[in-house]
Structure formats: structure tokens, C-alpha cells
């Protein structure tokens, strides 16, 4: 890791500028939703089902209502008339998809532990919490469904209205299913693997929090909430609650992390709105940490079957995939689409001409799943990268060399994949070789051989993972082809104030990414001003009415480009004003460091500051020109962005205890041009730790009755800094050819690359025992048991 200091440099792009967001965040001065005062606000608390699957026989709230301060208690039926529509799912992946209606408080039946049963409002937080213990609910308990294959059997049907637990089946056979089957039938080599993507609990540092405030006149509402998606939420909440969209303002104050878990429309957001409307006063709610474990969405949850077919030379000819996706009890905002986001990446970075993909998704009696850092793409990358290792092992080839042979080569870009998607740029062999050099791959293999020869009980393992990430969501037309209900554009406004200070309005919604820093660096370079003279406005639908928010590594590659385009429009207008005032042709003007000068006559120039004031006074503008200097753009990207990289993980496994220590971790990530390498490294560090956490530590574990057994941080092991190795980062720069900054996304890259690198390293270390796979998380107990089983 690198020590850094604030750097002021021109150009700002590319410099390690410290994040302007951090002083407030680090000193506790930042205002999160629960910090926002609201005099007289009522407090919401939600009684949650202790059963995974049950009919509600009766609810007695009289004890709760007797507690001083408790104002009201509402069952699902009590609130039924408040809803204009059920909870929204924005991604009906197929026309036949089953999406049983569900509401913020369950009606008649609960379908997971954590499902809302009663909403309490009280004058204070403590009374609202005490009230929960005083409610008596009688349940008729039904069998839980926690196993995906059991769910598919329809032994127990969770939603009677759907008639089946299967939500949808989605298939992608670009070359025809028969073609792929025929390739497998005659292939020289095949592997068939089954992997489990365990459920993960997102665990953002700030739990969710909501404050809904009715404004005193006019019938409008302001919803403060810890969300990644105020813009999307505004539309969905308006539809669900029946508040006209123009009367609803959504604000995301400082948000303490999301990782996809706050890319949603949650029951408590809608409840606070309807209860604020009903009680005509502010209503607030803050999630308890144990509540978050069951009532915020969970990530992953798939059984993956992947097969590879290779020719006699070990060149992979086809990949065939069958996914069983765990939707959980209901479909949340983009639940069904998550496996589809990975569908296109099951051939990873390899030049594979044929594929066949089927995803079946089922309801279970567990917390709904949805997007979690990478959303579909870490799962896909894990499957292909593990399967490539299996095939290499079967063929007796070194996994790095086997990868190189199969990779899309640099001179093949731009490359049309067998799915029809265009991969615009890449250098997979280059980054793999760079990673090998940085980690000393040859030396490590020699050490591994020496240790094995010596009979050492400390087993060295080296794991390679190369990834391609489809991010920068997304070209709207591609989203349309996947039945996603919104576009993928982003909006920006750049406004030069009379005193040459700049306001940048972005539709991106930062929740830890440092957009204020990065956007100000981009605009500073474009307009020749200091980043300190630039304010970045965001995360409030009143300030930035248009936007599609932050997820899917999209903010820079889409929102950042919108800002560049708005800057260009501002410069075009400023050029017209300068030409008018300097009495020259626009073509004679050059714009350097914030000043327009007439080429060849350096005494004739006009700074942007002067133009801004002229635009404001409007005393002397070209005929017909509107006053003021501002521009708005909406940018719809022509393609996804395609970051890529290779991670190499080195582990040492203690044969006696099964403990895995990551002793070295090298990552070469290529996200195109870097605006701020400090922020890029932060994203990669955090991403790698999240992937490593899936590989080694984290698992949402349910018992047969559907109870979450890992519902606290004592049992759900989020690693701390003490538990992860020092990370060695290198990088490579292959600028994106599709946008003027040459940038790609980087928010999810680390997570996508990390888990398969770690598991490949563990399996490599254990290969002398004949072990070919290990289930995530690779706990010491699991590793030890695998070794015991191999011995016996």
C-alpha cells in the first residue's frame, strides 16, 4: 500500500488528489439520514416473522398499544388500502416470469424470517422497540424451503398464486442448443463442474435509515433515505404509494456504503411514506444490525453447473451453463436480472465460439436476494475461472499457460463475442504476464515443487484468475433487449456562476465512491479552473431531477462522460461569446487553461471568468443567445465498458489445522485511464477484500427451518484489516475507445477477480491430496475435512 499526500497538479486527471469527502466522514461531521432532525417525528418499528413460512392466524396488538408513547399498530390488512401497487420489481426477465404480489407488511402469510408482520409507530424510538415485544401473533407454521433443488421440485409451493416455486427460466443459445450439444458429444476433452455461490449479507457500515417528511402545504413529501438510487426510488415510490411523482422529493444524505444492497425499493421506505401521509407528520426508521441481516437483501445464492468442451489442442470450443438461482421469498427491484448480468461472461476472457446458457430461478423461504457488488458477474467469473483450472489440471497444463492459449488475443480487439456483444478493447495475455512477473510466478512454482518434495506440512498454492467485466450499465437498447424497465443513460449539468465558480449537477449518487473529488478533477481540467472552485451537487431529486444513480460500475463511464459533454457545451457557448467580444472568428480561438486566445495574437484573449460575467449580465451577447453559461446533457453509452485484469493469490495451508493464510496477493487491473489513482486503488482494495471474504469468511447460513444462523457479526465473519494480506497492485492502461475520457468502471472489478483467485490457490495447494474443489467459504474446518476425506 502506498502512502499518499495531497497533490495539486495540472492536469488534475491522473493525480492522487485526496478525497474532499473524507474530512467530514472521518470526523463524524457528515450527516447521515438518522442525523437529520425532525421535530415531532414518529418512530417506525417493524415486528418481523420468526418463521420462514407460516400463515398468520391472529395478531393481538393490544399489549403494544398499552405502552406509553405507542401511537398505532398496523397489520398488513390495516394498510392494504394505502398501496397503489405492490412492491416493485423492475426487471421482468421473461413475459411468463412469476412475480407474486407482495407488500411492505405481509398479508395473511409470511415467507421468510424477517418478513414484516406489524408496523408500530410511536413517539419515541424506545417505545416503538418495546412495543414489538408486546405483540402476540399466532402462526400456523408451514414447511420451510431452503434448498434450491427442493424448491424446484415444488414439494412445498410457497406462493399459491404462482402455483410453482419456479419464477422463470431464461435461456441464451446464440449458436443453437443443438450445435453446442454436438460439440460436447464429440469433444476431445470436457469438464463438468458444480459450484455453490453461497448467500452473502452485504453489511454496509451504515445500516438502512429512512425519514419521510410531509411538507406543511401542497401535499408534497420529502423522503430522506440511505439509498444508492434516489432517482429510481422516486419513480417507484410514487407508483407504489400513489403520491404524484412531482410531489415527491427523494434525498440520499451521506450514505455509508451500499454494495448493491441500497439499490432497491424497500418496505420501510414505503411504510414511512404512507404513515407520514396517514399521520400527517414525519416518520422515521433506522435499521438494527440484526434486522439488517434478514431484512436487507442478500447477495449471490446460486448453484452453477458449468461444462467446458475443448479440442485435442486444449482450445475451448464451447461452454454450457445451467444456473439455479435463489430469488428468496419475493422479487425485489432487480432480483431476477442478477443472474442475467452474468450470463454474457461465462466464457470470461477466452476466445470461445459457442455457448449455451440456461438459468432457472426459484423462490425459497429466505430473505430476497438482489444485486451485490458485481451482481452476476462475480458468479460467472468464478465459474469459468474455476472450470478453466479444472480443465488445465485434467490436461496436465500449467493454469497460466492454459489461460494464455485460450485468451482473446490483443490483436483480436475489437472482438465480437459469440453472444453478439462487442468487446471494445483488452490485453488479457499482457495483464496475466504482468501479474506473473509481479508475483514471481516461476519462483513460486519452484518453491512449491521444493516444498512438496520435502514433505512439508505447509502447502503452498498459487491461484490465477483473469476476468473481463461488463459494466458501465448500460446502453439503453441493450437493457431493452433484456426486458429491463429503465434506460442506462446519465444526466449532467455544468453551470458557470457569475464569479467563475462552477456547479456540477450529476445524476450519479455517490455513497463512498468519491464522485465529488473525481468530478471536480474532470471539470477542472476541462474548464481550466481549480477543483476547489467546483461544487458537485447530487443525490437530491430537487437538485438533480434527472439521473439513474450509482450501481454497476457506471458512474464514471456514463455519468462522468455526461459531465465531459456538458463541459464541451459550456465551452462551445463561451467560445461564441469570446468571439463576439473579441471580434474574431470562433475558429481563430483556442481554449487553454481557462482562457480563450486568438491564435497568433496573444494580446487578444478573454478568460472564462470574464465570459461568465458577460453571460450573466447579458449586456453584450451575440444576437439571439440566451443569457447565462450553463449546459445540460444526457449521455447514453454506445457500449458497456470492459475493464479486465488478472489477480494471482498465493496461499499457505497448514495441513494440521486446515488454516489458509493468504501470503501474497497481486492484482493487475485495467480500467482504462484513471482519473484519480488513489480512488482507483481504494476501490480495488475494498473489492478484493469483499471477494476474499466470500472465498474465506462469509456465508449466510440457514438451518432446515429457515432460521438464519449467522445473524450477528460474531457468526457472520466480515474480515477486518487484521485478517487480510497486504495487497500488491500493479496496473495496465488500455483506454476505452468508446468514450472521450478513455475510462472504464472499477467499482466491482476487485470483487470479481478475487474469489476465484483465492479458491484456485487453495485447490492448487491441496492438489497433491487429489482434492479438486472446495466449497466457499473455504473455512479451516472444510479444508481440514477435505484433507481427512482424501486420506481415507
Amino acid at each position: 500500500m502506498t502512502m499518499t499526500e495531497d497533490v495539486v497538479a495540472t492536469p488534475f486527471i491522473g493525480s492522487r488528489r485526496l478525497r474532499r469527502e473524507d474530512p467530514a466522514l472521518l470526523t463524524g461531521e457528515a450527516k447521515y439520514t438518522d442525523d437529520i432532525p425532525a421535530v415531532g417525528a414518529l418512530h417506525l418499528a417493524v415486528l418481523r416473522s420468526p418463521h420462514a413460512h407460516a400463515r398468520i392466524v391472529s395478531i393481538d396488538v393490544s399489549g403494544a398499544l398499552a405502552i406509553p408513547g405507542v401511537v398505532a399498530a398496523y397489520t398488513g390488512e390495516d394498510l392494504a388500502s394505502q398501496w397503489a401497487a405492490p412492491m416493485p420489481c423492475a426487471w421482468p426477465v421473461t413475459a411468463e416470469m412469476k412475480n407474486p404480489a407482495h407488500y411492505p407488511i405481509a398479508m395473511g402469510k409470511v415467507a421468510y424470517v424477517g418478513d414484516g408482520v406489524v408496523a408500530i409507530v410511536a413517539t419515541n424510538h424506545t417505545a416503538s422497540r418495546d412495543a414489538l415485544d408486546a405483540i402476540v401473533v399466532e402462526y400456523d407454521v408451514l414447511p420451510a424451503v431452503i434448498d434450491l433443488e427442493d424448491a424446484l421440485s415444488d414439494r412445498v409451493v410457497i406462493h399459491e398464486s404462482a402455483g410453482t416455486n419456479r419464477s422463470y427460466i431464461w435461456e441464451l443459445h446464440p449458436q443453437g442448443k443443438e450445435t453446442v450439444d454436438a460439440i460436447f458429444a464429440s469433444a476431445a476433452h470436457t469438464v463438468s463442474e458444480r459450484y455453490i455461490q453461497q448467500r452473502l449479507i452485504p453489511a454496509a457500515m451504515e445500516p438502512r435509515a429512512v425519514l419521510a417528511m410531509p411538507q406543511p402545504f401542497g401535499g408534497d413529501f420529502t423522503l430522506y433515505t440511505s439509498t444508492q438510487v434516489p432517482h429510481i426510488l422516486k419513480i417507484m415510490a410514487a407508483i407504489t404509494v400513489g403520491i404524484p411523482e412531482h410531489l415527491l422529493r427523494v434525498v440520499a444524505p451521506s450514505v455509508g456504503g451500499g454494495f448493491g444492497s441500497k439499490l432497491n425499493v424497500y418496505a420501510e421506505e414505503l411504510l414511512c411514506l404512507v404513515l407520514a401521509r396517514k399521520h400527517r407528520c414525519a416518520v422515521r426508521w433506522v435499521e438494527e444490525r440484526t434486522e439488517a441481516a434478514t431484512s436487507t437483501i442478500q447477495g449471490r445464492g446460486q448453484i452453477q453447473n458449468i461444462e467446458l468442451a475443448a479440442d485435442a489442442n486444449g482450445k475451448v470450443q464451447a461452454v454450457r451453463v445451467h444456473i439455479l438461482g435463489d430469488m428468496g421469498a419475493y422479487l425485489q427491484l432487480v432480483t431476477p436480472g442478477v443472474p442475467l448480468l452474468g450470463a454474457f461472461l461465462y466464457a470470461g476472457v477466452y476466445d470461445v465460439p459457442n455457448m449455451s446458457f440456461v438459468c432457472e430461478s426459484v423462490f425459497t423461504t429466505m430473505t430476497p436476494t438482489d444485486a451485490y457488488r458485481g451482481a452476476g458477474r462475480p458468479e460467472a467469473t468464478y465459474a469459468i475461472e474455476r472450470a478453466m483450472d479444472s480443465l488445465a489440471a485434467k490436461l496436465g497444463e500449467d493454469p497460466a499457460e492454459f489461460r494464455k492459449k485460450n485468451m482473446i488475443q490483443k490483436d483480436q480487439f475489437p472482438y465480437t463475442a459469440m453472444t453478439g456483444l462487442q468487446y471494445d478493447s483488452g490485453d488479457h495475455v499482457g495483464v496475466l504476464e504482468k501479474a506473473q512477473e509481479l508475483v514471481d510466478y516461476t519462483g513460486l512454482r519452484a518453491e512449491q515443487a521444493a516444498r512438496r518434495a520435502s514433505g512439508s506440512k505447509k502447502h503452498l498454492g498459487i491461484g490465477v484468475s483473469s476476468y473481463f467485466e461488463m459494466c458501465g450499465l448500460a446502453p439503453s437498447r441493450v437493457l431493452a433487449s433484456l426486458n429491463y424497465s429503465a434506460g442506462g443513460w446519465e444526466a449532467a449539468t455544468v453551470r458557470v456562476l457569475p464569479t467563475n465558480k462552477i456547479q456540477v449537477v450529476t445524476g450519479a449518487t455517490p455513497h463512498g465512491q468519491g464522485h465529488e473529488t473525481s468530478w471536480s478533477m474532470i471539470v477542472a481540467d476541462k474548464l481550466g479552473v481549480s477543483p476547489d472552485d467546483i461544487d458537485v451537487l447530487h443525490s437530491d431529486t430537487a437538485l438533480s431531477p434527472l439521473g439513474l444513480d450509482t450501481y454497476g460500475s457506471r458512474s464514471l463511464a456514463v455519468g462522468g462522460i455526461a459531465i465531459v459533454m456538458a463541459c464541451d457545451k459550456v465551452i462551445d457557448k463561451a467560445r461564441k461569446i469570446a468571439a463576439h467580444q473579441l471580434e474574431c472568428s470562433e475558429d481563430d480561438l483556442e481554449f487553454v487553461n481557462g482562457t480563450f486566445s486568438v491564435r497568433g495574437s496573444s494580446d487578444k484573449s478573454m478568460p472564462l471568468a470574464g465570459i461568465a460575467f458577460e453571460a450573466f449580465t447579458a449586456h453584450n451577447l451575440p444576437d439571439g443567445m440566451e443569457p447565462n453559461l450553463e449546459a445540460h446533457t444526457t449521455y447514453d453509452p454506445p457500449n458497456f465498458s470492459w475493464p479486465f485484469g488478472t489477480h494471482i493469490c498465493v496461499v499457505e495451508i497448514d495441513e494440521e489445522t486446515g488454516f489458509t493464510e493468504v501470503i501474497k496477493y497481486v492484482a493487475i487491473d485495467d480500467c482504462g485511464n484513471q482519473i484519480n489513482p488513489l480512488i482507483v486503488e481504494g476501490q480495488i482494495h475494498g473489492g478484493i477484500v469483499q471477494g476474499l471474504a466470500q472465498a474465506l469468511f462469509e456465508e449466510a447460513t440457514y438451518d432446515a427451518e429457515g432460521n438464519l444462523k449467522s445473524g450477528s457479526f460474531a457468526d457472520y465473519l466480515v474480515p477486518s484489516a487484521a485478517d487480510v494480506p497486504s495487497l500488491t497492485l500493479g496496473h495496465s492502461v488500455t483506454p476505452s475507445p468508446t468514450n472521450p475520457l478513455g475510462v472504464k468502471g472499477v467499482g466491482e472489478a476487485g470483487t470479481i477477480g478475487a474469489a476465484p483467485a483465492v479458491i484456485n490457490a487453495i485447490v492448487d495447494a491441496l492438489s497433491p491430496f487429489g482434492i479438486t474443489d472446495i466449497t466457499m467459504p473455504a473455512t479451516p474446518n472444510r479444508v481440514w475435512s477435505a484433507i481427512q476425506n482424501a486420506h481415507s
Binding site: T126, T290, T657, K709, S710, A714, S720, A722, D723, W784
Partner: protein
């Protein structure tokens, strides 16, 4: 995370604390550093109706040379145990074990007395005091009594303390120059041990105890007997899980815990030179 309603009183001395708790009845609890009790209360797994705050009884925070033993006030913070020069000289095992408790924030708030009185078999210090053959001094309504550590731990989160008694002092014999080892196996740095081992040998005294291998912190008696009889570390360690009834949880099966106990006891015996 709001606890159920409770009343609160602050005690100025051990005598006052004992008198207050006697008046408060069965549902009262002492509050020291709060690092075991408060999380349970926030989850409403514990719902005492009265907390007697003993955290400000200043004269119960000390580490003193008491001749043949070291006396440690029950309200001494883990951090002070961890860094005590006196303990490093005479009972290095205890100072070392204290450095494994939780994380730095926990060690600056949690107390040795609180940890021992809580009697969690998965905690580092109860088993360590057991291996060290410590003595626990207890204040009750009728004065003080002493309890040998070997008699103190009665069941899961249960000790020999009566409802109206308070732990005031921990006495550890001096083991100047002894060989010792503390082994803690866990998945994350700040967690409770999946299995832990404390071992010490000094002038014929052999103490080996196990963390998280039963409902109580456990002396590995079979190991101690084997070591005293001259067995090798490997042979003695093979007996590590004898008499233990470990539980199974998300981190470890029963078999894995038994195996870890054998591995960690062997490592402890070897590192300490006990066998």
C-alpha cells in the same frame, strides 16, 4: 439496538455494590466494562431489571505484588493486564493471553473480573486463570471468601458466585521464569477462540487448560497427568480431548474441535517446554 427497560444504580465500593444487589433481587446484574453484558442486553437476550454499575470503583483496579502471588483487582482493564510489567515478570502467560481478548477497543473497556465472572468457556481469560491455578476473592453480604479457580466454573455462563456476591480480586501464584504457551485458533483476529490452550509448567506444577472445548473452561487433566508422568508432548497431546464435550457450531464440528485441541496442546507443550 435498544435494551429492555432497566433501572440503574452506581456503587462506590464493593460493600455498597453487594448491598445494592441484595436489595435489588434476582433480576439485577453488575455492570463492569459492559463488553459481555451490554451486547446481550441490546439483543434483549439478557433483560436485567436493575444494573449495579461497579465500573467506577477505583480501588478495584490494580495489579500488586502480594509476596507469593500477584493480586489483580477485578476491575482492571484487559489492556492494563496485557501491559503490566509485574505480570510480564511473574505471570507472563496471563499478560500474553490478555493481548488476545477481542480487539483494542474491547481491551480498553473490558475487565478481567467481568470476563471471569461471565464464565464464558470461549473466553481467553477464564481458561488461563484455571491453568494458572488462580484464586478468586469474592465479596458477599457476610464478608469475603476465596474460591479456587478449579471450583469456580460450574456450567455454561455459570459460576460459583451467588446472586449477591461480587468478584473483587484475582490472585495468581508467581511463576517467575516458568515456561508457558497460549495458543488461540480462530478465523478472524478479534474473534473468540474456536479452540484455545493455556499451558504452564513451573517447579513441578503443570497446568494445561482448554478454551471452548466444553460448557466450562476445562483443565486438560489427562494431559497434565501424562506430562507429570514424563510423557512426550506428542503422547500427552493425544489425550487433549479426553473428558471434553465440545459443541458443534458454524466454525467447527465436534471432531474438528477435538482434533484442534490435540494439535494446539502439542504446540503449546512444545513451545512452552512443558513436555
Amino acid at each position: 439496538m435498544i435494551p429492555a427497560p432497566f433501572d440503574y444504580q452506581r456503587a462506590g465500593s464493593a460493600e455498597e455494590a453487594v448491598s445494592l444487589i441484595a436489595q435489588a433481587g434476582d433480576e439485577a446484574k453488575f455492570l463492569a466494562g459492559g463488553h459481555s453484558l451490554l451486547p446481550l442486553m441490546k439483543l434483549r437476550l439478557a433483560q436485567p431489571t436493575m444494573l449495579i454499575d461497579i465500573g467506577r470503583i477505583a480501588d478495584l483496579s490494580y495489579i500488586r505484588d502480594a509476596g507469593d502471588h500477584i493480586a489483580i483487582g477485578a476491575l482492571t482493564r484487559h489492556r492494563d493486564v496485557e501491559t503490566s510489567a509485574l505480570l510480564h515478570e511473574h505471570v507472563g502467560l496471563l499478560a500474553h493471553a490478555a493481548s488476545f481478548v477481542g480487539d483494542p477497543q474491547v481491551r480498553h473497556r473490558g475487565t478481567i473480573g467481568g470476563s471471569i465472572a461471565h464464565a464464558d468457556p470461549a473466553s481467553d481469560l477464564p481458561a488461563t486463570v484455571l491453568a494458572l491455578g488462580g484464586t478468586l476473592v469474592v465479596q458477599g453480604p457476610n464478608g469475603q471468601r476465596e474460591i479456587a479457580a478449579t471450583d469456580f466454573f460450574k456450567g455454561f455462563l455459570e459460576s460459583d458466585l451467588a446472586a449477591d456476591e461480587m468478584l473483587t480480586e484475582i490472585r495468581i501464584p508467581k511463576y517467575t521464569g516458568a515456561g508457558w504457551s497460549f495458543q488461540k485458533f480462530n478465523r478472524r483476529a478479534q474473534d473468540w477462540a474456536i479452540v484455545g490452550v493455556a499451558a504452564i509448567k513451573h517447579n513441578g506444577y503443570v497446568g494445561v487448560s482448554l478454551v471452548n472445548m466444553d460448557q466450562v473452561p476445562l483443565r486438560a487433566s489427562a494431559v497434565e497427568a501424562a506430562v507429570s508422568g514424563g510423557a512426550s508432548a506428542a503422547d500427552a497431546a493425544a489425550l487433549a480431548a479426553e473428558g471434553a464435550s465440545p459443541s458443534s457450531d458454524l466454525n467447527a464440528s465436534v471432531e474438528y474441535r477435538q482434533h484442534l485441541a490435540r494439535v494446539l496442546v502439542r504446540r503449546a507443550l512444545t513451545e512452552s517446554g512443558v513436555a
